[in-house]
Amino acid sequence: METMGPMRIAENLLSDQTAALRQDFPILGRVLPQGQPLVYLDNAASSQKPAAVLQAMETYYRQYNANVHRGVHTLSEEATTAFEAARAKVARFIHAPTPRQIIFTRGATESINLVAYSWGRANLGPGDEVLITAMEHHANIVPWQILQEQLGFTLRHVPITPTGTLDLSQLEKVLTERTRLFCFVHVSNVVGTVNPVQQLVTAARAVGARVLIDAAQSVPHMPVDVQALDADFLVFSSHKMCGPTGIGVLYGKRELLESMPPFLGGGDMIREVTLQGSRWNTIPYKFEAGTPAIAEAIGLGAAVDYLTQVGMEWVHAHERALTAYAYARMAEVEGLQILGPGPEARGGLVAFTLKDVHPHDIAAILDRSGVAVRAGHHCAQPLHTELGVQASARASFYLYNTVEEVDALVAALHKTRQLFAGQKG
């Protein structure tokens, strides 16, 4: 890869297929108020949606909108069938053994909190340890901090190296016989690092710890097989994978989910309620109190269909090539510093800093060229602190992004450089 110039990489991109795919995403035709076509490179924050996903939800609302599970009438039966079909689709997509191991939540964040409140309360106490890493998203840090206050276990972390990979030389020190749960991100949403899941799971097994994998940035972008990974818990969000907002997934091993106490109480999660007490329903319903996000589940099912049709191998290869190209072109920009490892070992995103220009200013100036990137700490403040930067700007790619869009990004970065030229002082 090192020796492959940007142009060679660009040629490898299957741009014909990308051009066709772009037609599936209505928003990509948008012209921004500043008169520029949209160059959407903020996919790690939230992806765009293909028309098929919007259509699936429209059809639900226009044809068979009704509450699920408890209805006997036609609309409710249709809605129940579509809702449960979506669960089965998601199960197949991540190779879960059964659909009942797919629990619908609002997103990756709620999924992790569900594990914390339910599994955590039943399994953690003083003397126990939960292990996270220094590159986690806040969603995989804060729930454990909140729980720690209440239960009195110890929260430890795997440190990172200056290039933004896990410092595995320290793993033995922090992963101990007391570790009950090891929570780590599959692909970092800032440095792009793809963590060595197998190695981490094996290490966890050796000390008898469970693992929770934050797959918010992997499930949308590469084939993920929860059984091959041997994940105890795995979480992700619909809105980052061509699906609607308002829904996400918790996958769990069946015996774990079955043994866990419920999280939220209400309709659908019970077998029987009396004023004296209640009995719980089976999984997945035990963890889905109240009216679920029905249209959203159906939309997520359609997103999974869409991605399957495109092919996750193709998505992954496309993003790898695009990222390698972007990495090489961006490195040419004066004063630009890329966070994280080299292009050969990263997910489809590039976070960076630009000398003397605050990331917010970078993003704002790129926006004037129609290029949408994110700026800030990307909900990973500790990671930025460890890397010694306040914030960064981030370009993140998806199946519909093109070489031309990367070129637009690089051109806008050069413009930014010029605008801020002249010493600060």
């Binding site: 006997v72 039966e77 069938t81 019970i270």
Partner: protein
């Protein structure tokens, strides 16, 4: 008409259930209910040499669950426990001779759940 949930036969079994009540000294007794609608079914079996020689059900609930229970009691007379353990969803649907949506399916399958839990000696048939 095979898509009619309430074909004559089913209504007839509901209004005039066969094998409803209790056995004097059942060898097997099993009970369960459907939390979503409150259907309840109890099944009692008399078993000699692994063969069902008498059967009764009791319970209350919708026509589908109760008629299915009654029909099922008729069906199992003379069957071996092994045959009963092999009963599945398709068996019930064929017996009823109707198509059935996902929600009402729970009603139709409740008697089977109860029966199989009894046949396997389980507290409750796992979903």
């Amino acid at each position: 008409m095979s898509d009619d949930l309430y074909r004559e036969a089913i209504l007839d079994y509901y209004k005039h259930p066969r094998h409803k009540g209790h056995l004097a000294a059942p060898d097997i007794r099993s009970h369960d209910h459907n939390p979503f609608c409150g259907d309840e079914v109890t099944v009692e079996l008399k078993v000699v040499d692994g063969i069902v020689v008498d059967a009764a059900f009791d319970g209350h609930g919708c026509a589908i669950s109760q008629a299915t229970a009654s029909m099922l009691m008729e069906e199992i007379l003379g069957k071996t426990m092994e045959e009963i353990r092999a009963f599945d969803k398709e068996y019930i649907l064929e017996m009823l001779g109707i198509e059935i949506g996902p929600v009402r399916l729970k009603c139709a399958l409740l008697p089977l759940k109860v029966l199989k839990a009894g046949a396997y000696g389980l507290e409750e048939w796992p979903e």
